[in-house]
Amino acid sequence: MENIRKGNNLSVRRKINKTNLREWTTAYLFLAPMLVFFIGFVVYPMLKGIYISFFDYSLRNFKFVGLDNYISLINDKIFIKSLLNTLILVIGNVPVVILISLFVSANIYKKSPVVRSLFRGIFYLPTVCSVVSITVVWGWIYHPNFGILNYLTSLFGFQPIGWLGDPKYALGCMIAVLVTLSVGQPIILYVAALGNVPESYLEAAEIDGAKPWQVFRHITWPLLMPTTLYIIIITTINSFQCFSIIQLLTAGGPSYATSTVMYMVYERAFTLNKYGLSSAMGVVLAIVIMIISIIQFKFFGDEVDY
C-alpha cells in the first residue's frame, strides 16, 4: 500500500504540466551557477586531462602518441621511485594518524567542553595554519647545523644527522611533518563519534566486568568503524596529494629520495612543460588512489556496522 502510494506520488510529480515545468525551471536556475563552475572547471578539465595524456603536449608540440606517455612512465625509474615514495608516505602516515587521533580523542571526549575544545584546537591548528609557515619552521628544526633537533639528540649522546640531506632519513622526516598536518580533522571526527556511543552499552559491559581495553575493543571500536573508514580514506587521499612540504623542504631530493608523484607532476609540467606526460602521471595516480579507496572500502566495509 505504502509503495503504491509512493509510486503514485512520483508519477504525479513527473507529469509534465505547467506547475511542474515551473518547478523544474526554478530548480535549474538555482543550480545553474554551480553547474557552470562544476562543468567548466572540474568535469571538462578532468576529461581533457585524460585526453591530453595520449598526446605529446608541450609548448610547441601537440601530437597524438597513443600510449607512449604511459609506456615511458613504466620505464622511468624516477617515476617508479616517486610512486614507491608516495606509497611509503601513505603507509607511514595513515596508521600513525589513526593511532594518535584515536588516542587523543578517547582521552579528551569526556572532559569539560573547555578542555575538549582546547585540545581539539591545539591539534587542529597545524591544519588551519598556512602549510608554508609550518614547513619553513620544520626546515629550521631539521637543519643539520642550526636546527634544534640535532641539539636535542646530541643531549642524549647522538651524532648530528643531516636529516633532510640524508636519503635514509629524509622521507621519514616528511612523514613526521605530514602527521602533524593530518591529525586535526580525524580528532574532531572521533570526538564527535565517541560522544555518540551510547553510554548504556558501556555501562552494561562494565557491569559484566569487562576491562577498559575489552570495552574499547568489542564495543567502542566496532561502533567507530564508519568514522574510521572515512578517516582512512580522506587521510589516504590527502597523503597521496602531499606536495607543499616536499617542494619547500627538499624539492624531491636528495637523489629523488623524497620525490612524490605529485611533486613530479609539478616538476615535469611547470619546469619542463611536458603537459602530456604529466597528465599521464596524474591519471596513473588517480587510478592508484581509486583502487586503494575501493580496497579500503571492501576490506573495512565488511566490519562497518551501520
Partner: protein, 276 residues
C-alpha cells in the same frame, strides 16, 4: 562515569601522554613566535635560546621592505572572493538538491559524488592550460573561480538544507511567496550555521591552497602570503629570524579566524563527514 574513576592512575598517565603530544604539536608554533623576535646571530646559535633574551623588532623591520602589505591584501582578496562565491553557489545548489524533485537530479548528484571521490591531480594540468588559454594566468579570478566548481560545499549545504521542513516551503508557496523570496527569508536563515561553517572552510582552504597559487601567480606583486613566505625562505636561506617573522604574519590571520569560529568548524567537519 564511575567506571573510569577506578583507573585514575591510568587516566593520569594517558592524559600526560596527550599533554606531551600537544607540546610536540605546539612546538613549531612556539618556535615561529619566538624565532620572529630573535636577532639573526641568535637563531643559528647552538645551544639555542629557548626564550629570546634580547627580543628585537629588527626582523619585522627587514620584512617591511618586501611587499608584505601587497601579499596580505592579495591573500585576503582571493580568500574572501572564493568564500563569497562558493557560499552563494553552494547554498543555492545544496538547497535545490535537498528539497526539489526534478528530472536530472540523480545524474547531477552522482556526478558530484564521483567528482569528489576523484583526486585533483587529473585536473591540475588541463585546468592550467585552460586558464592560460583564457589568459587568466597571474590574475585573481584564476584562483577564485575554479574553487567554486569543487563539490564539497554543495554537499555540505545539501546536508544542512535537508533539515528544512517541506511544509514550511509549501505554506510559503500557498501564501504567494516567490521562490526567490522564500529562499531568502526561509531557507537562508535556517541554513545559516552551514553557511558559517562553509565560509570559514573555504576561506582557510583558499588562503592555504599553495599549489594553485604557485602555478598561477607569476609576479612578485600578485603573490599571496604563503608564496611570499616561500620566497623569503629562498632569499634569506638561514636568516631564520626574518623567515619566522613572515611565517608568523602568514599564519596569524588563520589562527584568529579559527579561534573565533571554532564552533562552526567542528560542526562543518562532522556534518560534511555524514555522507548522504
Amino acid at each position: 562515569m564511575k567506571f573510569f574513576k577506578k583507573y585514575t592512575l591510568r587516566e593520569i598517565i594517558f592524559m600526560a601522554l596527550v599533554v606531551l603530544l600537544s607540546v610536540i604539536f605546539m612546538f613549531p608554533f612556539y618556535w615561529i613566535a619566538t624565532g620572529a623576535f630573535k636577532p639573526q646571530n641568535v637563531t643559528v646559535q647552538i645551544p639555542p635560546e629557548w626564550w629570546p633574551k634580547n627580543p628585537t623588532l629588527q626582523n619585522f623591520k627587514q620584512l617591511s621592505e618586501s611587499p608584505l602589505l601587497h601579499w596580505t591584501l592579495n591573500s585576503f582578496i582571493i580568500s574572501l572572493g572564493t568564500m563569497l562565491i562558493v557560499c552563494t553557489v553552494a547554498t543555492m545548489a545544496g538547497f535545490v538538491l535537498a528539497k526539489k524533485v526534478f528530472p536530472g537530479r540523480n545524474l547531477i548528484f552522482w556526478s558530484l559524488i564521483v567528482a569528489m571521490a576523484l583526486p585533483k591531480q587529473v585536473v591540475m594540468i588541463p585546468l592550467f592550460t585552460i586558464l592560460s588559454k583564457l589568459d587568466w594566468i597571474n590574475t585573481y579570478q584564476a584562483l577564485i573561480l575554479p574553487a567554486a566548481g569543487w563539490p564539497f560545499g554543495v554537499f555540505l549545504m545539501k546536508q544542512f538544507s535537508q533539515g528544512i521542513p517541506g511544509e514550511l516551503l509549501e505554506a510559503a508557496k500557498i501564501d504567494g511567496c516567490t521562490e526567490l523570496r522564500s529562499f531568502w527569508s526561509i531557507v537562508i536563515p535556517m541554513v545559516k550555521p552551514g553557511v558559517g561553517a562553509l565560509a570559514i572552510f573555504t576561506f582557510i582552504n583558499a588562503w592555504n591552497d599553495y599549489f594553485m597559487q604557485l602555478i598561477i601567480i607569476r609576479s612578485e606583486k600578485m603573490m599571496t602570503l604563503p608564496l611570499g613566505v616561500a620566497l623569503l625562505q629562498q632569499e634569506f636561506t638561514t636568516n631564520y629570524g626574518v623567515i619566522m617573522a613572515g611565517a608568523a604574519l602568514a599564519s596569524l590571520p588563520m589562527i584568529i579566524v579559527f579561534i573565533i569560529f571554532q564552533k562552526y568548524f567542528t560542526q562543518g567537519i562532522t556534518m560534511g563527514a555524514v555522507k548522504g
